[in-house]
């Protein structure tokens, strides 16, 4: 029973990270209707930013979060307004080009980091890195617990931001109807840039959280990139509460799956469930007409 409870706790902790990266992907999709294939790489860049802040200024990964978020927001907004916007204009009906573009950006980020940081594993130690919390027979590592709390805080903040601020309202309006938003005088270009920036910032925050107990290397993003796709498919593309729940479900699925079928086959379980959900959703949709 304890193993099971421990697995559930671990699952929730991992799921928190998945939920956060999933939310960052889903917000970009919701507004621009593109699947950003370099989301994992943005997370990786966020991890490196957090690493540099630790390495150069001795900043604790958790305390560095606001700074990482601002830097990543700037990078994201710049990317959207210069490069991605251009590709989105090029495509007439299909979004293949944006797909390739984001894949290309992913390769670019990975190798830029490889160039500057080599392929070594790098760590940043937080003040709480070595601490554990005991709850009865269950042990939770402190940085994971804090990351989970950050997820909850970020979700609430994101909700309040989208619901009550002008920019948040503009983002929602654009996601519902782009033409309508333009007619009402919303500068959709600006909204796109800030949405992509927001997505990048959330990915960066995820990276900074991850940095407190994990290590960074140039290809670390690939795993989280694929996981983020699964999360948003589980929760419904474009839905933020969906990504929140989807992330936690995926985390649980992974840890419980590794208890049941063994750790080495957990990826197979995760991917098979993913395929099943995609196909079922599709079948349900076509049945409804």
């Amino acid at each position: 029973m304890d193993t099971f409870l421990q697995a559930i706790t671990n699952g929730l902790m991992v799921g928190g990270i998945y939920a956060l990266i999933g939310m960052s992907l889903t917000i970009i999709f919701g507004v621009m209707k593109i699947i950003n294939f370099c989301q994992g790489e943005l997370l990786m860049v966020g991890m490196y930013v957090s690493f540099v802040l630790y390495d150069q200024f001795g900043l604790d990964p958790f305390l560095a979060i606001p700074l990482v978020a601002i830097i990543m927001f700037a990078i994201g907004a710049l990317l959207q307004s210069t490069i991605i916007n251009r590709a989105m204009k090029n495509t007439e009906s299909d979004d293949t080009n944006v797909l390739f573009l984001t894949v290309g950006l992913g390769i670019l980020f990975t190798n830029l980091c490889l160039m500057f940081f080599k392929s070594d594993y790098r760590t940043a130690v937080s003040a709480v890195s070595q601490k554990n919390v005991e709850l009865g027979n269950i042990t939770v590592s402190m940085p994971k617990l804090i990351s989970f709390l950050i997820l909850i805080i970020m979700s609430v903040l994101l909700f309040l931001f989208l619901k009550h601020t002008t920019l948040g309202k503009q983002i929602r309006a654009t996601s519902q109807n782009k033409t309508g938003a333009q007619v009402s005088g919303i500068k959709t270009k600006m909204v796109y840039a800030s949405t992509y920036g927001l997505g990048a910032a959330l990915a960066g925050i995820t990276g900074a959280c991850l940095m407190s107990y994990y290590y960074v290397f140039p290809t670390v993003g690939a795993v989280y990139g694929t996981r983020s796709f699964i999360v948003v498919t589980l929760g419904g593309l474009g839905s933020i509460p969906g990504a929140f729940i989807g992330g936690l479900v995926l985390g649980l699925l992974e840890t419980i799956g590794s208890v049941v079928v063994g750790a080495s086959f957990k990826d197979t379980v995760v991917f098979l469930v993913f395929i099943l959900i995609l196909v079922t959703k599709q079948l349900v949709k076509s049945k409804r007409g």
Binding site: I83, N90, N97, L101, F229, D267
Partner: protein, 335 residues
């Protein structure tokens, strides 16, 4: 109406002959190695383009289907002593059938959703092969070394692999070209342009996608047989998703949707990436791939239809067409 055989085909034949004679006057093993890799990349990209280019279903799982071919032929060779020449046919049918069967429920998924499913299948296969005892787990399989044996596709010199690779790329090019010009090809392109219209005029998109998957993944598996027998070592890492990106690069650069595109793209991008790898990666690891990625991004931004897309719409093509037609007219005017 265009002739089945004209000056264009003669030029193509000439080109093949010139390339085939290359090992006679180029002694450098390095050049030959680059040629072999170019043949391989061109073949893989052509195979990918049947599904990705002609049918418009972007797959990022093709590295895994290539890996399936490599694994099946290698396991057959190591355990049952089946000649790779026979394996070529076996893997084409088996991998084609497996992928068509697995992906057939997924063809309702459009655009990026289909891409996500191919990633999921690719990673599942990689995970399974990493943990499969019989297939050597993560350690991979070494193909048996020994004396040169044509029947076992085992050669000690690069020249033999050069001709093997050339044969493969010519064969796959002809197959894809024939599909492109056939009723099947037009059906596939209709599905790519507009599925609903295709359905309305009696083209079943699902059926066409199944056929395209069978051919595309089957040919990809054939490339896998070549890969395994050339490198003589395979491990699950050949199935990784980033490798799939490598296979679609030539098609994107050369022009998605055209048959010459992937070929042209591979001829340009593979030697270039090898050159960058040789010169830059010793200075700073990754810098060669940074340039590679920048090229990809620039092409997508400024020439989304690739080199062939630009060429097909340019005045240059009209002029070249005119020259070819006049030659054809002179050569074949008397019947």
């Amino acid at each position: 109406m265009k002739r089945k055989f004209g000056s264009r085909q003669i030029l193509l034949l000439l080109l093949i002959v010139i390339v085939a004679l290359l090992p006679l006057y180029v002694q450098s093993t390095y050049t030959i190695t680059i040629c072999i890799m170019t043949f391989y990349m061109a073949s893989a990209s052509l195979a990918w383009s049947v599904l990705g280019g002609l049918t418009g279903q972007i797959s990022l799982g093709h590295a895994a289907f290539m890996g399936l071919g490599a694994y099946i032929s290698t396991l057959l060779l190591v355990n049952f002593n089946v000649s790779p020449w026979i394996s070529i046919l076996i893997v084409f049918v088996v991998v084609g059938a497996i992928t068509a069967l697995l992906l057939s429920p997924c063809f309702g998924l459009r655009g990026p959703y289909f891409t996500l499913v191919t990633i999921a299948f690719g990673e599942t296969f990689r995970n399974l092969f990493t943990n499969w005892e019989y297939a050597g787990k993560g350690k991979g399989i070494l193909l048996p070394y020994g004396e040169d044996d044509f029947g076992l596709m085992r050669f000690s010199d690069k020249q033999s692999y050069f001709y093997l690779g050339l044969g493969m790329v010519v064969l796959i090019y002809i197959i894809v070209k024939m599909i492109d010009k056939s009723k099947l090809g037009y059906g596939l392109k209709t599905v790519r342009e507009d599925e609903d219209t295709a359905n309305a005029i009696g083209i079943n998109p699902w059926k066409y996608k199944v056929i395209a998957t069978f051919i595309s993944c089957g040919l990809m598996a054939v490339c896998g047989v070549f890969y395994a027998n050339y490198y003589r070592f395979i491990d699950p890492e050949i199935m990784i998703q980033t490798q799939s990106v490598e296979y679609l690069m030539p098609a994107v650069i050369g022009g998605i949707g055209s048959v010459t595109g992937p070929l042209l793209g591979a001829v340009i991008i593979t030697p270039l990436s090898q050159f960058l790898n040789a010169t830059l990666s010793s200075i700073a690891a990754g810098s060669n791939l940074v340039i590679y990625a920048v090229i990809l991004i620039v092409v997508i931004l400024f020439q989304p239809r690739g080199i062939m897309g630009w060429f097909n719409g340019s005045k240059l093509k009209a002029k070249i067409d005119k020259v070819f037609d006049s030659i054809d007219g002179k050569l074949f005017s008397k019947k």
